[in-house]
């Protein structure tokens, strides 16, 4: 196969755009102390201006809220929460969903049937509701939010991985591996997993896009961090009280951050899927 | 003449450059006449056939020549006129998998009746359904089948219904693009019998596209052999099969296992058809031709005509 520039391949532009957006927000999270002009809860306006949100100005390009907090700085700081929750939940969901999908798909049998039924049922339930139910029991924290998201996205990884394993099992190569008497764990790790890896990558992109939105929903419900800690969804929730008096900047910018970050992952997943010649994965 | 194609050139735009799928082909079909276009895949025979009702994909353009049906040059017509005057009305089409052209979600009668109504051949739904029933009877399907869904029909019935849909508007010409490729010999021969019967009943002209020269010889009045977008040879079916003029036709015949039921060992033509983005110079068949000389490489072959109306394009026509 000829090596082609990534941009020239189908989906290449989407992957590049998606990765750029993701890296931008990850860099924002890592470098927040350097990049953020103000602290997340620093009163950054003169005393006489506090009490009312102030519109964007040269010193505060995204404006300030009624407490005098700088909206841009809160978005920069808030990226830390989102990036942590989404990264942690992706690792957890993969750690559970991928092995289960591999084993369940490879061995089949009654365990596979029951597991599939359970996973399908959870998958069919609205993710945000399930996450809310779990998070409301566990209480607001980054770790708990990640666990709530894990419950939602394990079935996504499981289903995709299992489906791919079933495809691979139907290949003639498998026959020869079995006749060669190779142990199952060897076949799974050396032959199936490498072929499932691209699928996992695609699912990672698409599930993470969804996870960002679910995280924002949890945050909107006050189930990730407690105000005044900075988190995009929570800022949006508190910002909406000021929208009717015209303070659009309190909601526009946090929402834009949520949607653009999610779009980054969506583009990555979609682009990867196209590279692998799949039109639809969901 | 029902159909008169003259100097037709069709070009496809492709990612790796343009290609001429049909390059200067002329062909005519008279009323009630059956002409078969024969060639390997990639010879341009399907492109030629589908250009008549102007059903080519969007990346194909007719860059030269004319196609006259009943005196109307369809290369000059716009989409709307093609739809109203030509498709279904002057030319009916039977595709490669005829049964697959039926809409699985609608009763077959409704599908045929719809075409009758949009072309103004029936003014009420009842009349249209009655005519649709007539069309079904013409192809040997009971008229009650108008109210069946395609999935309720057998495979053979679906093919017949698709043919009924193609002839329901009583076109002058039926274009059939390898309608029986996927079928076994018995079904194939039944479908061919049906086309023959329709030709007699309706005074229909038929243009059959096939890669099977034995089938063409058995059924058609005349055969046109295409190679790499050009006409190699054309003439009365019997004459062509008994004494081909073009070495390519000879090759096709030798590659056929059972001409007139006589079993023999097929001898395939060596080599493969050329890439039409970069066709060979001179006669396009020369790289595979056993008789090729330097002349064939350099110049376009001349037309060889016989009194019977046969023609071939070759420097070294075979003699009987």
């Amino acid at each position: 196969m000829a090596k082609q520039a990534i941009l020239a391949r189908p989906g290449g532009l989407m992957v590049t755009a998606g990765l750029s957006i993701i890296l931008f927000y990850v860099a924002l999270a890592v470098l927040a102390p350097i990049l953020a002009p103000y602290g997340p809860t620093e009163v950054s306006v003169p005393k006489e201006l506090a009490g009312r949100p102030q519109p964007p100005s040269p010193e505060h390009p995204f404006g300030t809220n009624e407490l005098g907090y700088d909206v841009l700085s809160r978005i920069v700081w808030g990226s830390r929460v989102v990036v942590q929750v989404v990264a942690l939940s992706a690792v957890l969901s993969m750690a559970v969903g991928v092995p289960l999908g591999l084993v369940s798909g490879y061995y089949g049998g009654p365990v596979d049937r029951v597991l599939s039924l359970v996973m399908d049922s959870v998958y069919a339930f609205p993710g945000i509701l399930l996450a809310i139910a779990v998070a409301s029991v566990l209480g607001p924290s980054v770790g708990n939010a990640a666990i709530s998201l894990m419950v939602v996205y394990v079935p996504t990884y499981f289903r995709m991985v299992r489906a791919r394993v079933l495809e691979l099992k139907a290949r003639p190569l498998m026959e020869s591996l079995w006749t060669a008497g190779l142990p199952d764990h060897w076949i799974i790790l050396k032959h199936i997993l490498p072929n499932v890896a691209p699928t996992i990558l695609v699912v990672f992109g698409l599930a993470s896009a969804d996870a960002i939105l679910t995280e924002a929903g949890l945050s909107f419900f006050g189930l990730v961090v407690v105000y005044p800690e900075a988190d995009w969804g929570l800022d949006l929730y508190y910002g909406k009280n000021w929208l009717l008096s015209g303070a659009w900047w309190l909601t526009l910018f946090p929402g834009l951050a949520i949607t653009s970050f999610a779009a980054g992952f969506a583009l990555l997943g979609e682009g990867l899927a196209r590279m692998m010649g799949e039109e639809r994965w969901s | 003449m029902v159909l008169k194609i003259d100097g037709l050139i069709i070009e496809y735009r492709t990612l790796r450059g343009p290609l001429k799928a049909v390059d200067g082909v002329s062909l005519a079909i008279g009323r009630g006449e059956w002409v078969s276009v024969v060639g390997e895949s990639g010879s341009g025979k399907t492109t030629l056939a589908l250009s008549i009702p102007r059903l080519l994909p969007a990346n194909a353009t007719i860059v030269g020549g004319t196609i006259e049906i009943e005196g109307v040059d369809v290369t000059r017509l716009g989409e709307d006129e093609l739809r109203r005057r030509v498709r279904g009305r002057l030319v009916g089409v039977v595709f490669q998998e005829p049964g697959a052209t039926l809409d699985p979600l609608r009763r077959v009668g409704d599908q045929i009746a719809e075409a009758l109504m949009v072309h103004g051949l029936a003014s009420t739904k009842e009349e249209a359904l009655r005519l649709a029933g007539d069309a079904l009877e013409k192809v040997g399907v009971p008229r009650e089948r108008v109210s069946s869904y395609p999935f309720q029909l057998s495979g053979g019935q679906r093919q017949r219904v698709a043919i009924a849909a193609a002839i329901a508007l009583e076109p002058k010409l039926l274009v059939a693009d390898e309608p029986t490729t996927a079928l076994d010999v018995v079904v194939q021969s039944r479908i061919m019998d049906l086309l023959d019967k329709l030709r007699d009943d309706m005074d229909l002209s038929i243009l059959l596209v096939t890669h099977d020269i034995a089938l063409a010889a058995e059924r058609s009045d005349r055969i046109a052999v295409m190679y790499a977008g050009k006409l190699a040879e054309e003439g009365p079916a019997g004459e062509i099969v008994i004494g081909p003029l073009h070495p390519y036709t000879r090759g096709l015949l030798d590659a056929t296992p059972d001409l007139w039921g006589e079993r023999r060992k097929p001898k395939p033509i060596p080599g493969s058809p050329p890439d039409l983005r970069n066709p060979p110079s001179g006669c396009r068949f020369h790289p595979r031709c056993p008789l090729a000389t330097s002349e064939c490489k350099e110049r376009e072959p001349p037309e060889v005509r016989e009194s019977s109306g046969r023609r071939a394009y070759c420097f070294h026509p075979l003699t009987r």
Partner: protein, 339 residues
């Protein structure tokens, strides 16, 4: 019709295990994980132990878990979702029954908006030209990443705070307080029609516009994607080639192609309904819509576990019911399905 009834019964039987599994998961999450819910809610206050014991007994939390599991399930089948842990003596079902019509009305209109938007942009992504086509394609790929409250708030700003239309659209609640409406079904559209109350009907519809469009924009992109890919497939199929060869006008052709496209899409609507309910929860909080979503948010703040459990399980049953309805619609739409 007898065979249709049998078909429905068969589909229903297949949905039961799914709903039971969800019930079990929710039960485990909300009853087992918190340990003692009563303690979790009231533990921080200084409530005497005998008082806690009394509450446990009243809520049935003193019984063994398996017994709670079965009794709660039996209750749900009789529409008994237990009692609120916060509002003493108040059945959870009362709140659900009170709020559900609002959510249903929003879900139905949001669904309609999403289908209209999704179909239109899916067709535009295939048949449109220039910038419209590009926009439709972009929407089809990334539209679902729009955060619902964000889109809702943008619409509020554009149509109510700083309206681009000559009037302001309502942004909160289901009906203006000054408009009187006699409640019959709780579905305000239906109520205003059956009581012949035209001003109320207009007011209720006006209240529905922004929340439904919000849901429609976000959820429509999934349909746009599906319509786009299936329509492309159908347009390239022999079916359409056959229609075209018969001289059928493009507009009819597109109609037949769309009908063929709808078959796989209706299947998807069952799954989409679940996402719709999830989206409705966020939409309700954005538009102060007095439905199950706002009920959920209120009770989360009060840590009213029995209410949360009731709402979530109610959703599970609703989703099961809708997927059954979708199966039946699918069977009626596609003559190939024999029931």
């Amino acid at each position: 019709m007898g065979s249709l009834a049998r078909y429905i019964a068969l589909r229903a039987a297949l949905i039961v295990p799914s709903v039971l599994i969800l019930y079990t998961i929710v039960f485990v999450v909300l009853r087992v994980i918190p340990g003692d819910p009563v303690l979790a809610v009231l533990g921080t206050k200084s409530v005497p132990p005998e008082e806690l014991e009394r509450i446990r007994e009243r809520l049935g939390l003193d019984k063994p878990l398996y017994q709670q599991y079965i009794e709660y399930l039996m209750g749900v089948l009789r529409l008994d979702f237990g009692e609120s842990m916060v509002y003493t003596g108040r059945p959870v079902w009362n709140d659900i029954a009170d709020r559900f019509p609002a959510t249903l009305e929003l879900a139905v209109f949001g669904f309609l908006a999403s289908v209209v938007l999704g179909l239109a942009s899916g067709v535009a992504a295939v048949k449109g030209r220039g910038p419209i086509r590009a926009l439709a394609n972009f929407y089809a790929v990334t539209g679902y990443t729009l955060f619902i409250p964000w889109i809702g708030l943008i619409l509020i700003y554009v149509f109510a705070v700083n309206p681009i239309l000559p009037f302001r659209l309502p942004v909160g609640g289901r009906i203006s307080p000054e408009v009187g409406l006699r409640e019959v079904t709780g579905l305000y559209i239906v109520d205003s029609i059956i009581t012949g109350n035209i001003p109320a009907l207009i007011d209720v519809l006006a209240h529905l516009v922004l929340p439904s469009v919000t849901l429609g924009i976000v959820l429509g992109s999934a349909y746009a994607r599906l319509v786009r890919s299936h329509l492309r497939e159908v347009l390239a199929s022999e079916i359409v080639a056959g229609y075209r060869a018969r001289g059928i006008p493009e507009i009819l052709l597109l109609r037949h192609a769309l009908r063929n496209t709808m078959v796989p899409i209706v299947t998807y609507m069952g799954l989409q309904f679940a996402i719709l309910l999830g989206g409705a929860v966020l939409t309700e909080t954005t538009f102060s819509w007095p439905g199950l979503g706002t009920l959920l948010l209120e009770r989360i703040e009060l840590r009213d576990y029995t209410a949360i459990q009731g709402v979530v399980i109610f959703f599970a049953f609703m989703i099961g019911l809708v997927s059954l309805v979708v199966d039946v619609i699918y069977a009626l739409l596609d003559p190939r399905i024999r029931y």
